[in-house]
């Protein structure tokens, strides 16, 4: 039993964090900076991480990159293409014939409940309907609360592009739930960092507000929620590839239920610590909150789905 990240996993996490810090939006205004988005898109494409799964990476590595990207509000597609890559991975005959190899072909994203998710600049979608993989085209953007990821309609014809084995069809949802939980955790960590920084510089009654226990305790609670989330998510991310389908799905459900509740609380705290500013559009706190709410609703898990026969 050794649940530490490997040195390679730590390097991957650090590289993803650097990329997000360098090119992610540093303000709400930055969201509209098309030059920045183009540089970010180029940088993300160059990493080849959108095809982590077909390159043999585990759920742990995928979750680490997703979490760091969400922390930095990376606003070019990632979770969608990674999940699409996983769906299209196993058999060569499901590959896009035009695809020239990992990282080079135009990535696909996934369709969830009839909508293309994480579709910014992308053309193709794939979705799993039972064991069937169906393709489609990204249509018009639809209104969505998430300011960092684009949703769009899906245009037909939906064509069969492959079939999942029963094992793969069962296991894929575990990865999807883990990825969306990792995204929520990352977005919440970003909100927390924002709030801690703000509490050190915002002064009232002649002192930084973070020096008051009323504020400090809220931020301390958030950090504990982050630590608990990291622990429960790491197990679920590992379980995606290492446990039985039923166990992997159960681990993913537990992780998502814990993380989604923690992440919302952490973001609400970040809004509160920012005071009036936190309730304005120009404060990034709500951008994190919106991303958390979106990732919570994708591949949703309700508390009632928790199996009391665990471990």
């Amino acid at each position: 039993m050794d649940v530490r990240l490997t040195p390679e996993q730590r390097q991957l996490r650090a590289a993803a964090a650097r990329l997000a810090d360098d090119l992610g939006p540093g303000s709400v205004l930055d969201l509209a900076d098309d030059d920045r988005v183009a540089r970010l898109e180029k940088a993300v494409a160059a990493t080849g991480w959108r095809s982590l799964r077909s390159d043999g990476a585990s759920g742990v590595e995928v979750a680490l990159v997703v979490e760091e990207f969400a922390r930095g509000l990376v606003d070019v597609p990632f979770a969608g293409p990674v999940l699409a890559d996983d769906l299209r991975r196993p058999a060569d005959d499901r590959r896009d014939p035009a695809g020239a190899g990992a990282g080079e072909a135009q990535p696909w994203t996934i369709a969830v409940d009839g909508e293309a998710f994480d579709a910014r600049g992308l053309r193709d979608v794939v979705s799993a309907e039972g064991n069937q993989l169906l393709s489609g085209r990204v249509g018009e953007p639809v209104t969505a609360i998430d300011l960092t990821r684009v949703r769009a309609t899906v245009l037909g014809p939906r064509e069969p592009v492959g079939e999942l084995s029963p094992e793969a069809a069962g296991r894929w949802p575990a990865l999807a739930v883990v990825v969306t939980a990792a995204d929520a955790l990352g977005a919440a960590r970003g909100a927390h960092a924002l709030a801690v920084d703000y509490a050190k510089v915002r002064s009232q009654y002649g002192h930084p507000i973070g020096s008051y226990q009323a504020i400090a305790h809220l931020l301390a609670e958030s950090l504990a929620l982050i630590e608990g989330s990291v622990s429960v998510l790491r197990h679920a991310a590992w379980a995606v590839d290492e446990l039985s389908v039923a166990e992997a799905r159960a681990a993913a459900r537990i992780a998502k239920v814990y993380v989604q509740r923690a992440a919302r609380t952490i973001c609400e705290t970040a809004v509160q610590v920012h005071g009036g500013i936190g309730n304005t559009w120009e404060c990034l706190a709500h951008v994190h909150l919106r991303r958390v709410l979106t990732s919570t609703e994708l591949f949703p898990v309700r508390l009632e789905e928790i199996d009391l026969g665990f471990s």
Binding site: M1, D2, V3, R4, L5, T6, Q9, V60, V196, A199, K200, P208, G210, S211, Q213, I215, A216, H217, L219, A220, E221, L223, A224, E227, G228, S229, V230, S231, V232, R234, H235, W238, A239, E242, I254, V257, Y258, L303, E304, I306, L308, G309, F310, S311
Partner: protein
């Protein structure tokens, strides 16, 4: 990364499981029974080779990696056995701050369970503000003489020894004048007064009055004035679910409640199951980090908060499942309220996290 047992860990788990299976049906059913048999349980566990796993062999331990404690805790809970005796924080305190002579004299008895210990830290006027303690130790000839009042002293009524904090120098400020001692509990000059807790249990916590109790001069641990450092080691480890070893019992209670619920389980029970699983995995992560020689400082306060939230969610589940009519479950609920106080209140943990981890200046 692997959450599974390595082969030698699996073999250990099998041996332990077999030993526990042979004792099925003999475990205490009630709180009172648990308390009255806890000393025997400690000695049995030690005698079978399942206690003191991560402590040095020269003091009676097994020198195994800390993850073995996880296996022990999980299997005890799974078998419905009592939890691992909770004295890791005392072993750490004496191990790190006592002289080799001290360690040789006291650690083996502590680990085997042949000598029982209590911890004399808190006082009526010194709770969260431990450094304001007023119990005094005065050197008279070749003996220290103690006067003062300790409270929240777990197992004081059955203890042979007390790890006592007392003030040896009233002329220096606060924590600088505090020293740590080993004091024999079987002597005149010590008066015990049990405390009855809100669940009615009166055999865990006590008050201890020192009125002329004595200890030989060499029962001072380290130098005079070094008691605060020992106290910080002890309370640091007292916060950690991985040292305490009772996180697994939350899962045991959740499973027991799940078995008695008819129809859809209440939301409180489902949430307690989620918290319990989170804590189980968190302890595994923390103990794995020990392989990197990570020394636990303020992060222990994060762990204490997570453990507290878990125990109190289990308490709320107990109330949801049993209402107020099931005495055992009601007792579990009432007892859970102490978790946010004992070993340092949740408010103190948050102060530590805010100032020492987040860098928010107080």
């Amino acid at each position: 990364m692997d959450f599974r047992d390595a082969p030698e860990e699996a073999a250990f788990r099998d041996r332990l499981r077999t030993w526990l299976a042979g004792r099925a049906g003999t475990f205490p059913k009630s709180g009172d029974e648990y308390w009255s048999r806890s000393a025997q349980w400690h000695r049995d566990l030690y005698g079978a080779g399942f206690f003191g796993l991560s402590w040095p062999t020269k003091y009676g331990g097994h020198d195994l990696p800390a993850v073995y404690d996880v296996i022990l805790d999980e299997e005890l809970a799974r078998a419905g056995a009592p939890a691992r005796p909770s004295l890791g924080y005392l072993v750490e305190g004496l191990g790190r701050h006592g002289s080799e002579e001290f360690r040789q004299r006291f650690l083996p008895g502590m680990i085997t369970g042949d000598e029982r210990w209590c911890q004399g830290f808190s006082e009526p006027g010194a709770g969260s503000d431990l450094a304001s303690l007023t119990t005094t130790a005065t050197l008279e000839g070749d003996e220290w003489v103690f006067h003062g009042h300790k409270v929240w002293t777990s197992y004081s009524d059955v203890a042979d020894w007390c790890l006592l904090l007392a003030r040896t120098d009233a002329t220096v400020r606060r924590h600088k004048g505090i020293s740590a001692f080993v004091v024999n509990m079987h002597q005149a000059g010590i008066e015990q007064r049990p405390l009855q807790m809100i669940n009615g249990v009166s055999n865990e916590f006590g008050q201890v009055l020192f009125d002329g109790a004595r200890a030989p001069a060499d029962h001072l641990i380290g130098e005079a004035g070094e008691g605060w450092a020992l106290a910080m080691t002890v309370v640091g480890h007292e916060r950690e679910p991985s040292t305490l070893g009772f996180s697994a019992r939350y899962g045991k209670l959740v499973r027991a409640m799940a078995a008695q619920v008819e129809g859809p389980p209440p939301a409180e029970l489902l949430w307690a199951a989620v918290e319990t699983e989170m804590l189980r995995l968190h302890v595994r992560r923390r103990l794995s980090e020990r392989l990197d020689e990570v020394v636990h400082g303020p992060a222990g306060s994060l762990d204490k908060l997570l453990m507290t939230w878990t125990e109190q969610s289990v308490g709320h589940a107990a109330l949801a499942v049993g209402g107020t009519r099931d005495p055992e479950l009601l007792s579990a609920y009432l007892y859970s309220r102490a978790q946010s106080v004992m070993g340092g209140t949740s408010q103190i943990q948050k102060n530590i996290i805010a100032t020492r981890i987040l860098g928010l200046e107080a």
